[in-house]
C-alpha cells in the first residue's frame, strides 16, 4: 500500500484532531504507535518477511519521562504536514532537525538538542502514521550505485536516465525511489545482481558483466540503506526480476543478504515494501573454498566477536532453514572467513567470467 501526499496529510490531521479532543476533555493526550524493538519484531513464515508485531506503545504528555518526546513528536508531525501541504522539495532528516530546533520559551532547553533526538522520533512518526519517511517528504542520504539495461524517468525533474550509459561511475541510486518519483521504462534485464562491495561492483562494471548477462548490477556499498533496498524490491516485484546477492563470506555478509531478503528488525515496518523474499545468496559458500582451492593466505581467522555474531545469526528465525544451519555449522567448525575481494588472487576476471556465471547457471545458491 502506498500513500499519496493527501493520505499522509489527512492522517497527520487526524492525529491532531484526536489530540485536541483529548486535551479539551482534560485528559492526558497520547500518541500510540507500534513498538519498534526486537521484542515486537517477528519473522512472518508465510510471507518470509520480518514484520512489526501488534504491540503498541503510547506516548503521553503528562508523564515526566515522556513529555519531552511527546512534544517533539507533535512538533515533527505539524512540520511535516506543513511541508507536504506546500509542495516543497524533500528535505533530509538533518534539515528537518534544523527547521524545528529552537529554544523553548521560559526554559533553558531547546526543542531538540541534536539530530540523535529527532531521528528516532521521525521513525516513530513513520509507524504512527503507517507511512514511510519518503512519503513524509523526508529523504535519506543514498549511497548505492547501479547500472544495467534499463531506463527510468526521474518524475520530479522529468529526466530520462539510461543506465546503460553511465560509464565507470554508474548511476547513483536516487534518495526517493518510490513510483511517484522513479518510473521504470524500457528494460532488458533478466535478473538483479547485488554485490556487497563497491570494489567488486567496479570490476564487474568495467567488464560490462551487466551487458553480457543482461542484469542490473547494484551495490549498496556495504549494508544496503533504505533506497537501495526499496529499489531492489521494486525491480523484483514490478519487473519480476530474480535477485542474487553476492557478499563477503562472513557473518556480516550473511546479514546484509538477509536484510535485502527479509528486511531488518529496526525498520521492520519497512520490510513489506523493501523485502525480496525470494532473493538468493550466491556466496561465497563453504564448498567454494574447496572447489576453487582458495589459498589459505586469503583466509582470515574469525575472532570472538565474529563467532558471537555468527551464533546470533544462526539463531534468527529467518536462518532456520536446514541448508543455512548446515552451512553455518560447517563455518563454525572451520573458524575462518574470506572476503569477496580476495577472489582476484585467482585472476582479476575470475569472478566475472568463472565464478558468478557458473553459480547463476547451476543455481548453486543458498536460499
Amino acid at each position: 500500500m502506498t500513500n499519496s501526499k493527501k493520505d499522509i496529510i489527512a492522517k497527520l490531521k487526524k492525529i491532531g484532531e484526536q489530540l485536541e479532543k483529548t486535551i479539551k476533555e482534560n485528559d492526558n493526550p497520547e500518541i500510540t504507535m507500534p513498538v519498534r524493538t526486537l521484542t515486537n519484531a517477528y519473522f512472518d513464515e508465510k510471507d518470509k518477511l520480518i514484520r512489526l508485531g501488534d504491540k503498541r506503545q503510547s506516548r503521553t504528555f503528562f508523564n515526566v519521562g515522556q513529555s519531552r518526546k511527546f512534544m517533539q513528536t507533535v512538533l515533527i508531525a505539524a512540520q511535516i504536514k506543513e511541508l507536504l501541504e506546500q509542495d516543497k522539495p524533500s528535505i533530509s532528516t538533518r534539515q528537518l532537525y534544523y527547521i524545528l530546533k529552537h529554544t523553548i520559551e521560559g526554559l533553558k532547553e531547546n526543542t531538540f538538542e541534536d539530530q540523535a533526538e529527532s531521528d528516532p522520533v521521525i521513525e516513530d512518526l513513520e509507524v504512527a502514521a503507517d507511512s514511510l519517511r519518503e512519503e513524509l517528504g523526508l529523504e535519506p542520504t543514498p549511497k548505492g550505485v547501479f547500472c544495467g539495461p534499463i531506463t527510468y524517468k526521474d518524475v520530479r525533474t522529468g529526466d530520462e536516465i539510461n543506465c546503460r550509459k553511465m560509464g565507470t561511475a554508474g548511476a547513483a541510486i536516487p534518495a526517493n525511489v518510490e513510483p511517484t518519483a522513479m518510473e521504470f521504462q524500457k528494460s532488458e534485464a533478466k535478473f538483479v545482481l547485488v554485490v556487497e562491495k563497491f570494489a567488486v561492483w567496479n570490476i564487474l562494471n568495467q567488464m560490462k558483466f551487466w551487458d553480457k548477462h543482461k542484469c542490473i548490477l547494484l551495490t549498496g556499498k556495504g549494508q544496503g540503506e533504505r533506497s537501495a533496498r526499496r529499489l531492489v524490491s521494486r525491480l523484483n516485484k514490478e519487473l519480476k526480476l530474480p535477485v542474487y546477492v553476492f557478499c563477503d563470506f562472513d557473518p556480516y555478509g550473511y546479514y546484509i543478504y538477509s536484510v535485502y531478503k527479509q528486511g531488518s528488525i529496526n525498520l521492520a515496518h519497512f520490510s513489506e515494501r523493501a523485502g525480496c523474499p525470494d532473493a538468493k545468496y550466491i556466496g561465497l559458500k563453504y564448498d567454494d573454498i574447496e572447489k576453487y582451492k582458495i589459498p589459505k593466505t586469503n583466509w582470515i581467522k574469525m575472532n570472538d566477536q565474529d563467532m558471537k555474531r555468527l551464533k546470533e545469526i544462526q539463531n534468527y528465525d529467518w536462518f532456520k532453514k536446514k541448508e543455512w544451519q548446515k552451512e553455518i555449522e560447517k563455518v563454525k567448525k572451520w573458524g575462518w572467513k574470506v572476503e569477496s575481494d580476495s577472489l582476484v588472487s585467482l585472476g582479476i576476471e575470475f569472478m566475472g567470467e568463472k565464478y558468478l556465471p557458473r553459480v547463476i547457471k547451476e543455481a548453486d545458491f543458498l536460499d
Binding site: 490531521k13 491532531g16 486535551i23 482534560n26 503528562f62 515522556q66 507533535v74 508531525a77 523553548i104
Partner: protein, 534 residues
C-alpha cells in the same frame, strides 16, 4: 623571693625574645592577637562578675603601620590594689594555673600584659588603663610601662577622673600593626566572637572609622563555669610532684582525696595499695620513686570521669540564634554534645551548620573554629576541627567535596570546643590537637548537624524539582498547543502566526489546567519510565 623574681624577669625577657610563640610574629598577627587578648579579658571579667558584657573595640590609625587599639568593657573594674599589676606584669592573674581550674578564654593569663609589652617594644609608648569599680567614685587612670628586668609595672602617671561608666575597664595601647582584609582581620575576629557570645553586645569601629554593631541576641548569661580540682588522670608527673610538695595535706591519702577531683577514700586506698605506699606518709617526705609509683598507679586506677560542671557551653539554641543574627541564612542546625573527657580533662563540643541565604554557593564552605568561645583564626590546616570536617564525606550530606578537602557549597560550619584545658598544638593557641576522643566527638557532632542539613537540602531539591517540572510543562505546553493548532488547521503555512496562536491558546490553557488539577489532587504526574525505543 629572689627565686620568684628571677623567674618573672625571665618571663618578660622570654617574651621579648620569643614573641612569635605567643602570636606576635608579624604586625598583622600581632594586632589581631592584641584585639583577641583584650576582648577575651573583657568577656571573662564580665562573666565572672555575672554582668552581661558590653564591649567596645576601636582601632585607630596613628601613622604608617601604627595603630591605637582601644578596648572598653562594662566589667566589674579592677580594685586599686591589683590594677597596675594585672596589666603590667606577665603571668599575673587568677587564670594562671597548671591543672584543673575552670574553663576560661585565656587559659594562661599571659594575654593582656603581653599586648602592652608588644606596644612598648614596637612604639615605646606607654599603655593607658582606665578602670572603675562600682564602689569607687572616680575612675583610675594609669599610664604605664612594663619593666622588662623586674616584670613590674612602671607607672608613668596615675590620676583619678570622673567617668560616665558605673564600672568597667578601658585599655589603650599604641602598637605596630597591619590590617588585613582576609579571614584573619580584626573584623572577622569580632564578628565570630559575637557568634559564640550571644549574650555579649559588641561594637567595633575599624581603622577607616566605619562602625560595626553586633547586638546582643540572648539576655541569658552562659552557665558559669565552676572552679574544679584537677582530675588525677589529667595531671602530668612534674605537676603531680610539685603539687605533692606544696600541698597542705598532712598525709598522702588526704592529699589525694582533698586536692583531686573524684578521688574518695576507697579510690585513694586502692591507688596507694597498688603503689605500695603507706597512706599516712607525709606528702612532703615522698621521694621521687614513690611519687612516680603513685602517679603510675593513678594512671591504672579506675576513677570516675571528672565533673563536667566546670564547662560553660554556648548552648545549641543560643548558638543557632546567634548564627542567624550574624548571617542571612535559610537553614540552621546546632548541636551541643554531652560533656566527655580526654586524658582526664572534661570537654564539650558544639557545632552549628548554617546553609543558603547570603552564603557563597560556589566556593569552599566557611568554617569558624572556636576554643572556649575564642575564634581560632590561624593554623587552620593542623587543627583537629579542620581535619574532622575534611574527614567527612559531605557528598552524602548535601554538600560536595573531594575526599580530604574542605567541602564546597553555601554553608557555614561553626565548631566550638569548650574545655578546662583545650589542647592546643602550640603556645599561640590557634589549633586544637588531634586527641582521639576529641576527634571522635567532633565528628559525631558535625555529622549530627550534617544529617539535618542533608534532609533540608533534599527537601529543597525536591521542591526545586517540582517547580522545575511545572516550568517544563508550561514550556512544553505552549509548543504542543501550537503544533496541535497547526495539525488541525488546513494549509497551516498560509495562516498568520497570530491566528495560529489564537487557535493554540485555548489548547494550552486546557493543558495547563489539567496539569494543575493533577498537581492539586496530589496525583503525581506519573514518573513513568522512559519508553524503550531502540
Amino acid at each position: 623571693m629572689a627565686d620568684t623574681n628571677h623567674k618573672q624577669v625571665s618571663v618578660a625577657e622570654f617574651f621579648e625574645k620569643n614573641r612569635h610563640l605567643l602570636g606576635f610574629n608579624n604586625p598583622a598577627k600581632a594586632l589581631l592577637t592584641s584585639v583577641k587578648e583584650a576582648v577575651d579579658n573583657s568577656l571573662d571579667a564580665c562573666e565572672s562578675a555575672k554582668i552581661l558584657p558590653e564591649i567596645f573595640v576601636k582601632i585607630q590609625e596613628m601613622g604608617e603601620n601604627r595603630y591605637k587599639l582601644i578596648v572598653e568593657d562594662n566589667g566589674p573594674g579592677l580594685p586599686k590594689k591589683v590594677l597596675a599589676k594585672a596589666f603590667g606584669s606577665l603571668l599575673f592573674g587568677s587564670k594562671f594555673r597548671s591543672t584543673g581550674g575552670k574553663q576560661g578564654r585565656g587559659q594562661q593569663g599571659i594575654g593582656i600584659s603581653a599586648v602592652i609589652m608588644y606596644g612598648q617594644l614596637t612604639t615605646g609608648k606607654p599603655a593607658i588603663i582606665i578602670s572603675k569599680t562600682a564602689k569607687e567614685k572616680q575612675a583610675r587612670h594609669h599610664k604605664l610601662h612594663i619593666d622588662i628586668k623586674t616584670n613590674e609595672p612602671d607607672i608613668v602617671e596615675s590620676t583619678s577622673k570622673d567617668w560616665t561608666k558605673d564600672h568597667g575597664t578601658r585599655i589603650e595601647v599604641i602598637m605596630e600593626g597591619k590590617i588585613t582584609k582576609a579571614k584573619q582581620s580584626p573584623y572577622e575576629f569580632i564578628k565570630q566572637t559575637a557568634v559564640v557570645n550571644p549574650h555579649a553586645d559588641m561594637e567595633y569601629i575599624d581603622h577607616e572609622g566605619k562602625k560595626h554593631k553586633f547586638p546582643r541576641v540572648s539576655n541569658k548569661l552562659p552557665k558559669a563555669a565552676k572552679e574544679q580540682k584537677p582530675h588525677p588522670h589529667g595531671v602530668e608527673f612534674g605537676i603531680f610532684k610539685r603539687m605533692s610538695k606544696s600541698t597542705s595535706a598532712r598525709s598522702v591519702k588526704s592529699f589525694l582525696t582533698k586536692d583531686f577531683d573524684k578521688v574518695g577514700s576507697g579510690t585513694a586506698n586502692a591507688i596507694l595499695k597498688a603503689a605500695e605506699i603507706d597512706g599516712r606518709t607525709m606528702p612532703k617526705l615522698l621521694d621521687d620513686d614513690q611519687i612516680h609509683s603513685i602517679h603510675k598507679s593513678i594512671a591504672e586506677a579506675k576513677i570516675m570521669n571528672p565533673s563536667t560542671d566546670c564547662l560553660s557551653p554556648i548552648g545549641n539554641e543560643a548558638l543557632a540564634k546567634s548564627l542567624e543574627s550574624e548571617y542571612d541564612l535559610e537553614f540552621v542546625k546546632s548541636v551541643t554534645r554531652r560533656p566527655t573527657v580526654y586524658r582526664g580533662f572534661p570537654f564539650q563540643v558544639e557545632v552549628a551548620i548554617g546553609y543558603g541565604g547570603e552564603l557563597d554557593a560556589e566556593g569552599s564552605v566557611t568554617m569558624n573554629r572556636f576554643a572556649n568561645k575564642v575564634p581560632l583564626l590561624y593554623e587552620e590546616g593542623s587543627c583537629a576541627i579542620t581535619k574532622a570536617i575534611k574527614g567527612i564525606s559531605w557528598r552524602s550530606y548535601g554538600l560536595s567535596n573531594s575526599s580530604g578537602s574542605m567541602p564546597t557549597g553555601p554553608a557555614i560550619i561553626v565548631v566550638h570546643i569548650a574545655s578546662v584545658w583545650v589542647p592546643f598544638t602550640s603556645e599561640s593557641k590557634a589549633a586544637v590537637s588531634n586527641y582521639p576522643n576529641i576527634s571522635k566527638e567532633l565528628k559525631l557532632a558535625i555529622q549530627e548537624c550534617a544529617r539535618s542539613l542533608q534532609q533540608y537540602v533534599k527537601r529543597k531539591q525536591r521542591a526545586g524539582l517540582e517547580e522545575e517540572k511545572r516550568k517544563k510543562f508550561r514550556g512544553y505546553s505552549s509548543e504542543v498547543a501550537i503544533a496541535v493548532a497547526k495539525l488541525i488547521s488546513n494549509e497551516s503555512y498560509k495562516i498568520a502566526k497570530k491566528d495560529i496562536d489564537k487557535t493554540a491558546e485555548p489548547i494550552q490553557e486546557k493543558l495547563l489546567a489539567t496539569a494543575e488539577t493533577m498537581y492539586a489532587s496530589g496525583k503525581e504526574i506519573d514518573e513513568g519510565e522512559e519508553e524503550n525505543d531502540e
